[in-house]
Amino acid sequence: MSTKHADSAKQFLYYKGSAQWHNETLWFVRHKRDLVSRSLPEWETLRELSSQIKRHTISHLDTYLEQFAANAEANGAIVHWAVDAKEHNDIVFNILKKHKVRKVVKSKSMLTEECRLNPYLMARGIEVVESDLGERILQLMDQAPSHIVLPAIHLKRQQVGKLFEEKLHTEKDNCDPTYLTHAARKHLRQEFLTADAAMTGANFGVAATGDVVVCTNEGNADMGTSMAKLHIVSMGIEKVIPSYQSLGVFHRLLARSATGQPSTTYTSHYRKPQAGGEFHIVLVDNGRSKIAGNPDHWQTLKCLRCGACMNTCPVYRRSGGYSYTYFIPGPIGINLGMLQAPSRYFDNVSACSLCFSCENVCPAKIDLGHQIYKWRQDLNGLHKADPMKKYMSYGMKYVFKRPVVYHTGLKLAPAINKLPRFLIYNKLNAWGLGRELPQFAKESFSEMWKNNNVKSVKNE
C-alpha cells in the first residue's frame, strides 16, 4: 500500500525534533528567497526570460554544443564527449592516469554523483577528496547528499562534532559550527596544497566564449583549481547557454533562488588552462539527449540545480532527502529519477501533494508538479499502480455511473458517523490513519438544492 518514500518518511518523522527543524529551516531558506526576489521588480520577467532562453537553447542544443566545444578548444581546453556515466568515468580516470595523479580534490558536482565517479576512482587507487564542507562531512561519514545545494542539511552539529573529533582530532564535545568549519578549513587547506588535480562541475557553459562558469560560496572550486595545474570539468550537455547576455539573466536568478543571496560569493569563469597545465571538459549525455525529445518531460533539462523546489516542497521538507530512492530528491528529483528508470524509481511519484508550489518558485519555470501528475497516470502501464487505489477507482467508477446507487449511498452515509471507531479506523481505511475523518453531512448538497435550502450570498 505505502510506497518506499512513505515508509522512509515515517522513520524521518520518528525523530520529531529534527524533523521539525528540517521543515522550518528549509522554509526559512524559501522565505529568504522570497524577500530577495521581491526586491527586484523585474523578477518575474527574469524567470520568464530564463525559461524561454532555456527552451530555445535545448531546441538548438546540437548547435550550441558544437559552438561551445569549438570555442573551448580554441581557448586551449580539451573537450571530451561521454555518451554515458561509464564513458565519463573512463575518460576522467584516463586523464588522471596519464598525469600520474594520486590525489584529486573535487568541488561539488551532482553529475559526478550521478556517474558514481568517486567509488570508481577510489577502486582504481586514486584518492578523492571532496572539498565543499557539506560534501566533505558526508564523504567522511560515507553518506550521500540529502539536498543538492545544502548536502548535509539532515545532520545536526553534534553529529559533525563527533565526526570531526574522530577524523580531524578536534576538541572533545566542541560542536560550535564556527570552530568546526575552521578546523575543516585547516584540514582541507592541506589537501588543496598537495592535490595533483582538481575537478569541478559546471553551473554554465557559455557557447559564445567557451567559458565554464562555477559558482560557490566557499571558494573551494577556486582553491582547488588554482593550486593544481590539471583541471577537469564534468558538465552535463544541458548546461550550455548561448552567451554572456543570457548568463546575466541566469546569474541574477541562481543564488537568489537557491539560498536567498543576491549572488554566490564566487562566480568563476574558466576560459584557458593554467600556464603549463591542462584544462579538460567532459560533456556528458547519459540520457539527456533523449529527454530533449520527450514531449511531456523535456522541460527537466531547463533545471539550474538551485534546489528551490526542494526548499518549498511541503513533502520534501517533512520527509528529508533520504526518503526518496533517487539520488536527487524533491520535485526535480522525482522527475529525473523517472526519466532514468521508471520501474526503479516509481516510489517517488507519491511524494507530491500536487500543490505546485515548486512551479511557482522554479527560476526556469519547469512544470514540475504537472510532470509528476503525468507520471502517476503512467503507473498503471508500468504495472506499478497501487492495487488498493485501483480497486477504489473501479468502485468509484461503478458508483458514479449509476445515479441510483450513488444517491442511495449518499443517504446512508451519515450512518457511518455512528459506527464504532474500530470499524472505521482500521488498516483497511488508509484515510483514517493518522488523522480524524470529517463527519458525513446529514443532507447532501443536491438535497439541499432541491429543498431550496441553498442561499446565495451576495457580495457587499
Binding site: 543576491p262 539527449s289 525529445g293
Partner: protein
C-alpha cells in the same frame, strides 16, 4: 570522436521544433546612487567597501587597515608594502599563509556587491588563498546589475576571471553562517 557524433545525432533525432531566442534586453532596477548602493550591499554580504579620499596614500591606508599583516602578496607596482610578488613565486603553494593580497577589480556591481577580478598575475591563487583580500576599484566603474557587468567585462591573457561578493562563507553545519570557509576571511573593496 565517435561519442561526439553519437551524442549530436541523438540530439538531432530528438529535436522537433526550434524555439526562437527571446529578446534578452529588459527593463531593470537602477540605483540612483550606485556607489552608495554598492557600499551598502557589500556590508550586507559580509564584506566592506570604503571610499579612498582624494590624494590619500593607499599604502598607508592598507597598512592601517591591516596592521598585523606580514606576508603581503601583490604584483601591482604602486603597492609598495607588498613583500611577495605572485609572478615571482615558483608555485602557488608558496602563497599559503599570506595575510593579505592586494588585487585590482575591473568593475563593481551595485545589485549584489560583486567585483569582477580578471586574473592579472601568474598565480590566480593570490585571490583565494589569503586571509584578507583587498580589492582596488575605480569608483566610476560601478554598474547597476549583472546584465551591464556581462556587457562590459574583459579578460586578461590568463583566461580566468572571477566575480567576488564578500568573504568566503558556508552554512553547511546546521545552516549556521560561518565566514571563512576556504577563501579570504575578509574582503574589502577600496574605491579609488
Amino acid at each position: 570522436m565517435n561519442s561526439r557524433e553519437d551524442i549530436l545525432s541523438s540530439i538531432r533525432a530528438n529535436l522537433s521544433k526550434g524555439f526562437e531566442l527571446p529578446m534578452q534586453h529588459i527593463e531593470t532596477i537602477s540605483y540612483p546612487d550606485k556607489t552608495a548602493r554598492f557600499m551598502e550591499i557589500s556590508t550586507a554580504v559580509g564584506g566592506e567597501a570604503m571610499l579612498v579620499k582624494e590624494g590619500e596614500d593607499i599604502n598607508a591606508l592598507l597598512r592601517s587597515t591591516y596592521p598585523h599583516a606580514r606576508k603581503i602578496v601583490s604584483n601591482i607596482p604602486e603597492i609598495t608594502i607588498a613583500n611577495m610578488n605572485p609572478d615571482m613565486v615558483e608555485n602557488p603553494q608558496m602563497l599559503d599563509g599570506a595575510d593579505l593580497s592586494v588585487v585590482r577589480g575591473q568593475l563593481g556591481v551595485a545589485e549584489n556587491g560583486c567585483v569582477w577580478i580578471p586574473q592579472d598575475s601568474k598565480e590566480r591563487a593570490e585571490i583565494f588563498i589569503c586571509e584578507h583580500l583587498a580589492i582596488l576599484l575605480d569608483k566610476n566603474k560601478i554598474v547597476n546589475n549583472m546584465h551591464d557587468a556581462y556587457h562590459d567585462l574583459t579578460f586578461n591573457d590568463y583566461g580566468f576571471g572571477t566575480f567576488i561578493s564578500g568573504p568566503s562563507k558556508t552554512a553547511d553545519i546546521e545552516q549556521a553562517l560561518v565566514i571563512g570557509a576556504h577563501g579570504a576571511t575578509s574582503v574589502t573593496v577600496f574605491l579609488i
